[in-house]
């Protein structure tokens, strides 16, 4: 009995006649990638440059502030400018007010807005579309139009010029976006994970707490960053409903006219810094929680 070994068919000659590798598409691809990179850098510089400049100014001495052109790194570091700002009357209380208002606004808008967002995400109910548009209507009204009646009402209710009053205004402003953002977050949490929790013994409430909220956390963090920054930057409403207990932006804005250059730079820096810090803290929750990037 003979065993026949099959030889693989060899390709002969074909290789010699193949056309040369065309590198042009690869080169085009690289050029395109380079352009995208350049654009990214340009946008980053555009966004970061003012922050860097104001930060530099804030740690420079008073004399350095008027120098032109400005050095990339300050010739001498000085706390003079920042001190001038923080020693100015009303800065510290205003900073405290702003932080409190920001945190309260985040808490309240999540407490009220997240359940509404959950309902929008999970249930089909009559008037859902109308509701979604209606929710946004609050943002269609100018803040002034909202704040003046609110101010009179707050005066009557004796809550005018309090952190609580500003919190109420900011929560109102933040709620529409909170509702819509959290709705899209809850849509992304798979229904069957929630159903699995229910089958395995959870009540609806337990299923939400043990499974849905942890899964929605990155999105909720993003939403709260958004709310906090919105509250931190809001001036108009805060100015109208307060008098003595200003938030920081309102305080800075009021003092801007008669303030020194140092106060302006330091004030600007102080306005940026907490929002940046908040974003850096919450950023951790945005991505990469359980070894995977969540939708």
């Amino acid at each position: 009995m003979t065993t026949e070994l099959r030889q693989p068919v060899e390709s002969t000659g074909a290789a010699a006649t193949l056309p040369p590798v065309d590198l042009a598409p690869l080169r085009r691809r690289r050029v395109r990638a380079a352009w995208v990179q350049a654009a990214c850098i340009a946008v980053t510089v555009f966004m970061a440059l003012p922050i860097v400049l104001i930060g530099l100014a804030a740690v420079s001495s008073r004399n350095a502030l008027v120098q032109f052109p400005k050095p990339l790194l300050p010739s001498e570091y000085s706390t003079e400018t920042l001190l001038a700002f923080f020693q100015a009357t009303g800065t510290f209380p205003a900073l405290g007010n702003s932080l409190l208002v920001g945190i309260y606004t985040v808490v309240w808008s999540l407490l009220i807005g997240a359940p509404a967002g959950y309902a929008l995400a999970r249930y089909a109910f009559r008037g859902k579309d109308v509701y979604q548009v209606f929710v946004l209507l609050v943002r269609a009204l100018p803040i002034v139009v909202l704040s003046v009646p609110l101010a009179t009402m707050f005066l009557r209710l004796d809550v005018y010029d309090t952190v609580f009053a500003v919190t109420l205004v900011h929560t109102t402003l933040a709620l529409p976006t909170t509702v819509l953002i959290t709705a899209s977050i809850f849509v992304a949490v798979p229904t069957d994970v929630e159903e699995a929790a229910q089958v395995f013994g959870c009540t609806r409430w337990q299923a939400a707490r043990k499974v849905v909220v942890p899964l929605a956390l990155p999105g909720l963090a993003a939403s709260s960053i958004f709310t906090f920054v919105l509250s931190w930057n809001e001036i108009l409403g805060a100015t109208v409903v307060t008098l003595g207990h200003r938030t920081l932006p309102a305080q800075v804005l009021t003092a801007l006219d008669e303030a020194s250059t140092a106060y302006r730079f330091a004030g600007g820096f102080a306005l940026i810094l907490p929002a940046l810090l908040f974003i850096f803290v919450m950023r951790r929750y945005l991505v990469n929680m359980w070894g995977t990037t969540l939708r």
């Binding site: 069957d192 229910q198 043990k210 942890p214």
Partner: protein, 360 residues
Amino acid sequence: MAEVVLRDLVKTYPGATARATDEVSLEIADGEFMVLLGPSGCGKTTLLRMVAGLEMPDAGQIVIGGKDVTYLEPRRRNLSMVFQSYAVFPNKKVADNIGFGLQVHGVPAGEVRRKVEWAADLLQLTPYLDRYPAKLSGGQRQRVAVARAIVMDADVLLMDEPLSNLDALLRLSFRAELKKLVSELGTTTLYVTHDQVEALSLGDRVAVMRNGEIAQCDAPTAVYDDPASQFVGGFLGSPPMNFLTGTVEQAAEGSRLDLGGQSLTVPAALSAYAGKPLTLGIRPEAIEVADGDGALTGELQVLEPLGSSALLTTDIDGQTVKVQAPPSFRADPAERLSLRIPPEACRWYDPETSLLLEVR
């Protein structure tokens, strides 16, 4: 351990015109493995979700172990479920996923750990207990889902297409494993699938569903060999059952089915159909290619070598018939093949109702 009784279950989804399930009744014995099989949209998943309590029926009743659970919350039904998408909790480690149900039910930690280790060992998950599900493959995730379901000691185990997201090879091996596992546990199981091979291989009984109704519910071999309707015959089997329609002619030696040129003997029991149309149903593997002495002649159109067999597409007087021939079978296109139709493999259907006609 419990038996499940479904009685006249009706469910219509809001906005839908047709009923998702239309007065479905089904009894699943204690420890039985029941498979719900059907094309997508036939209501099999709706039925399962109603048993789970994730969907409320409009009418009808569900009884598990003698207790009415029709409108009870899922957590009070003492059942466990494996989801099509696995539905493992991404924020919990494998061990916590498996022990989730026990923890929620307040089982002591030591007991939870013991059971989790038992289930993990059974499903070869022990090395992964400390990982998050994101680090697991699809097959491993499905094992976690199964482990999570079996630690519960539930009355009823529900499975919603648990293998459909796995790749073909994995599905094959996991299918056998699942069958072994469930038969060892002896839990009453309701299993939903659209894969007929899965249904036939796993089920003690198979309920074939169509348009919200159960078309046939019987043992796998019975469903395969004696399809109660043309739908069941056409849905089960790969390739499915052949159907040949003709008119019954009364001849001297008995009734014959006239296919328009060729004809075939009809059992005497069906002589009442003389002059009326009748449909013959026959499985492709039952037809033999004969050396000239077959009952019918078909023109070969396509020959597909499939490795384990050769699939022939033939044309008999304008009607297409698939024939499963031995793998070594070779013939030229357009060749006329003599086909032997064994009478015992023939099933007869009324073309009007498409229901099986009892011959014996």
